[in-house]
């Protein structure tokens, strides 16, 4: 796909990390989805440690978690795009995202790559992005957060 082409997708899964960059990613994908009437699902995964049962009442009780998805819905609405919000609990975020994309037959999975200012500043690639890149059944976009201007 050349850079000048508008990417085409029917269904996209947007991973929300609860970071400030979520809004930018949802806006970007919404703007792309609008002209092609693409379907969007915003997924936020709450990782549950092995010491708790997987269906423990964690995410449903947290207003903060709900707010992450509500904000995404709100941003998509501004772009006049319908977005389904999905809240998951899983042992591993990467696996849950890949499974959700597989189940929804998504042809695009979008993740954000946040920039951490600590320790001189670097992109926090973590283990989720490499897992998704390796296992996703569809195209994967990693949207890099801009490097703050005050960083060297």
């Amino acid at each position: 796909m050349s850079e000048s082409h508008t990417p085409v997708f029917r269904r996209a899964v947007v991973a929300l990390a609860g970071e400030p960059g979520d809004e930018r990613i949802v806006r970007l994908v919404s703007e792309l989805a609008r002209p092609i009437h693409g379907e969007l699902a915003a997924v936020h995964v709450v990782e549950v440690g092995w010491s708790l049962p997987l269906d423990a009442d964690i995410a449903g009780r947290s207003e903060e978690v709900q707010r992450i998805l509500d904000n995404a819905e709100s941003v998509a609405e501004e772009s006049k795009v319908r977005l389904e919000s999905v809240l998951l609990q899983a042992r591993d975020v990467g696996a849950a995202l890949v499974d959700e994309a597989t189940e929804r037959q998504a042809d695009l999975l979008v993740l954000g790559l946040p920039y951490r200012k600590r320790f001189g500043g670097d992109f926090a690639i973590g283990r989720t992005i490499p897992y998704v890149l390796k296992n996703a059944p569809c195209a994967v976009w990693v949207v890099r957060e801009p490097i703050p201007e005050d960083q060297p």
């Binding site: 449903g60 707010r67 998805l69 998951l88 042992r91 696996a95």
Partner: protein, 685 residues
């Protein structure tokens, strides 16, 4: 708001995940800690009939709009001139006729004075326009007469201004619609017979458009004004040329009002001047709408005001001169309007230009009526916010319009039109008084404004407003005097009445606010009063048991009260009660006069009297069991006694009424709530 959790399998055994339901999501959105915003679905109907009604409303008025969808558009001068001036400029369509209808009472020579009167009114317009230019500059946030009077004079004066404005807006709708219809039947005379019906339909259509949240900023609203101005200027120009070249001949008018025999005295001249002064209506619209202009708002508004005044003066004097040149007289009831006769004489009775002019005149007059649908509800909302009108007037409807104000305006204007038989001339005496009251109060307020501010040039600015104020006051006195018996007395009575009503409403609100107010240092403590619960029961059934369970969750002191008029059933009811509802005492009251509510309330009074006087009065909860009817006809069959009881108990001191509805869908829940039901399930399982 805790949702369910649905387990889902992953590609690998260890990759299971759980989808957490979000039950709030369709109805609310979290925006902060403990803070929710309701979505449209939260206000949506839940019953089939409600949904049907919402669909009909949606088709008629459009989908509900959120606050953030409000459009705030700044207008360039050309567009603002068209939108804000339609009211003022359209009055040139009937002002000349109103002068002629007075002068026709005298001899033919009196008709010639119409030009001098029109010039005098134009001079008055110039003074008013210059005064209002000052308001544009002093009040960049919009200087309606109410706002100016409230800030600078205060008290009753501002309410007088508000009352006069409200009347003015109603009259604008009535007069403009009546005149628009008159222009229509000037072309199609057969429409005269159904003029009231047409007027009511026109008002209904404007009302629906405004309830849909009509925006006046669209280009479509500029078209009728410029079309009318263009054609009217062409008509005045062609007419003047024909008069100047001697080509103007008196037209034949078989239905002209016969000339009178009255002498042309001062009273007649003043009356003609008062009638023609309706040309000034709508002059204040630009000063009210300064914030809608593009920056620099005040300067653009002031310049637009001058352009509007110049155009209005040219059209008004021009139409009067041409009417005079062609010897045009007003017609008898149902005949052509003076402006239609002028157009017919200049363009030709069957020329396309004549029809185009008549259509544009009707359109600009409807547009003028529409301007009040914007202004009246806004003023009513302002008054409601200040506590002078019922609060409903400040609530916005589904489409962000002040629906109450719109509907009230439409209802009064339609009623006025019907009452005055759709006759413009009959309505005019009611119009001018309110207009000149607002002019005078605005100018008076401005004098105090300049005197208080004392900025550069305050003295000459105050002088301009003083001249305007004195002149409009004189005209007000003239208009009110000479038009008094013709109908102005109604306004003279109505303004103080409206002021009295507004003061009454304000005092009511102020009193209730005082009664409800708490001191800033007050902190709510734990409840210290005792509670008791009374459950009126008609016997034993599921609804009663559910109500008793609710009662037991409120307080320990629960009494069921059974009021009967058939003694033979009492023993069996008591026996069943003790067996089936143990632990709740049953009080039985015989009612030989078959009343239910009276004996119950008397029993509550007795309980109150029996309470020790050294302890604070307890709160009495009256828990009423109710059977929920599914359809409207079922509602007639059930809960009549409960409804009556609830009405009677409303406002009883220290009494709280609790309705406990029993739904048909509840039997399963009822069975599950039965003590021992769970044990029963366990054993069977």
């Amino acid at each position: 708001m805790i949702g369910g959790r649905r387990p889902l399998r992953g590609r690998k055994l260890a990759d299971r995940r759980v989808r957490v339901e979000r039950p709030h999501s369709p109805y609310f959105r979290y925006t902060g800690p403990g803070q929710l915003v309701a979505k449209a679905a939260a206000s949506g109907p839940t019953t089939p009939s409600g949904r049907l009604l919402a669909r009909i409303r949606g088709h008629l008025f459009g989908r509900p709009l959120a606050m953030e969808e409000e459009v705030g558009e700044r207008l360039p001068k050309k567009k603002a001139l068209a939108i804000f001036s339609s009211d003022a400029i359209s009055s040139s369509a009937y002002a000349t006729e109103e002068i002629l209808r007075v002068l026709v009472l005298a001899s033919a020579g009196a008709i010639l004075v119409s030009i001098e009167i029109a010039v005098a009114i134009a001079l008055l317009l110039a003074v008013v326009a210059v005064s209002y230019r000052q308001i544009c500059r002093a009040y960049p946030n919009g200087g309606g007469a109410y706002a100016v009077a409230k800030e600078n004079i205060g008290g009753i004066a501002s309410l007088v201004a508000a009352a006069a404005l409200l009347i003015d807006y109603v009259m604008t709708v009535a007069v403009s619609t009546a005149s628009a219809i008159a222009q229509t039947y000037s072309v199609i005379p057969s429409l005269y017979e159904i003029r009231i019906e047409i007027a009511v339909i026109a008002i209904a259509l404007i009302t629906i458009a405004n309830l849909r949240g009509l925006r006046e900023s669209g280009n479509i609203f500029a078209v009728p004004t410029y079309l009318f101005v263009g054609l009217a200027l062409l008509m005045v120009g062609l007419g003047s040329v024909r008069i100047a070249t001697g080509g103007a001949v008196d037209i034949a008018q078989p239905d002209a009002v016969p000339l009178g025999t009255e002498g042309i005295g001062l009273f007649l001249l003043l009356k003609a001047f008062a009638s023609g002064s309706v040309a000034l209506t709508g002059t204040e619209a630009i000063a009210n709408g300064v914030p809608a202009f593009k920056p620099p708002e005040s300067r653009n508004a002031a310049n637009t005001l001058v352009a509007m005044a110049v155009l209005l003066a040219i059209l008004f004097i021009g139409i009067t001169v041409v009417a005079d040149g062609f010897g045009i007289l007003p017609t008898t009831e149902g005949g052509q309007t003076v402006v239609a006769l002028v157009a017919s004489a200049v363009f030709g009775a069957s020329s396309p230009l004549f029809y185009a002019f008549q259509a544009s005149t009707a359109l600009i007059l409807f547009l003028a009526a529409n301007t009040s649908f914007n202004a009246f509800p806004r003023l009513a909302a302002l008054l409601a916010e200040d506590g002078y009108m019922p609060r409903q007037f400040s609530f916005r409807g589904d489409r962000l319009a002040f629906s109450w104000g719109i509907v009230l305006l439409a209802a009064i204007a339609a009623a006025l039109l019907a009452a005055f038989d759709g006759n413009t001339t009959a309505l005019i005496p009611l119009y001018a008084v309110g207009v000149f009251v607002t002019f005078t109060l605005s100018q008076s307020g401005m004098i105090r404004h300049w005197a208080r501010e004392r900025g550069p040039g305050w003295a000459w600015r105050a002088t301009i407003n003083a001249i305007g104020g004195i002149l409009t006051l004189v005209v007000l006195i003239v208009v009110a005097t000479v038009k008094f018996v013709d109908g102005a007395y109604l306004v003279v009575i109505l303004i103080p009445t409206l002021v009295a009503v507004m003061l009454f409403i304000q005092r009511q609100y102020a009193r209730s606010a005082r009664e409800l107010a708490i001191r800033p240092d007050y902190v709510a403590g734990p409840p210290i009063r005792e509670e008791r619960v009374i459950v009126p029961v008609p016997g034993i059934n599921r609804a009663v048991i559910q109500a008793v369970n609710v009662a037991r969750s409120i307080a320990d002191d629960v009494r069921a009260v059974y009021i009967f008029d058939q003694p033979d059933r009492v023993e069996s009811v008591r026996a069943d009660w003790e067996r089936q509802v143990p632990g709740v005492s049953l009080v039985v009251i015989e009612s030989p006069y078959r009343a239910l509510a009276g004996p119950l309330i008397a029993y509550l009074d007795v309980l109150d009297h029996a309470w020790p006087t050294d302890r604070p009065e307890p709160i009495t909860f009256v828990v009423i069991p109710e059977y929920v009817a599914k359809s409207w006809w079922e509602r007639i069959l059930y809960n009549q006694s409960a409804r009556r009881l609830r009405t009677l108990l409303l406002g009883r001191p220290h009494t709280v009424v609790v309705n406990v509805p029993y739904r048909r869908e509840d039997p399963e829940a009822f069975e599950q709530a039965r003590p021992g039901a769970a044990a029963g399930r366990d054993t069977s399982g």
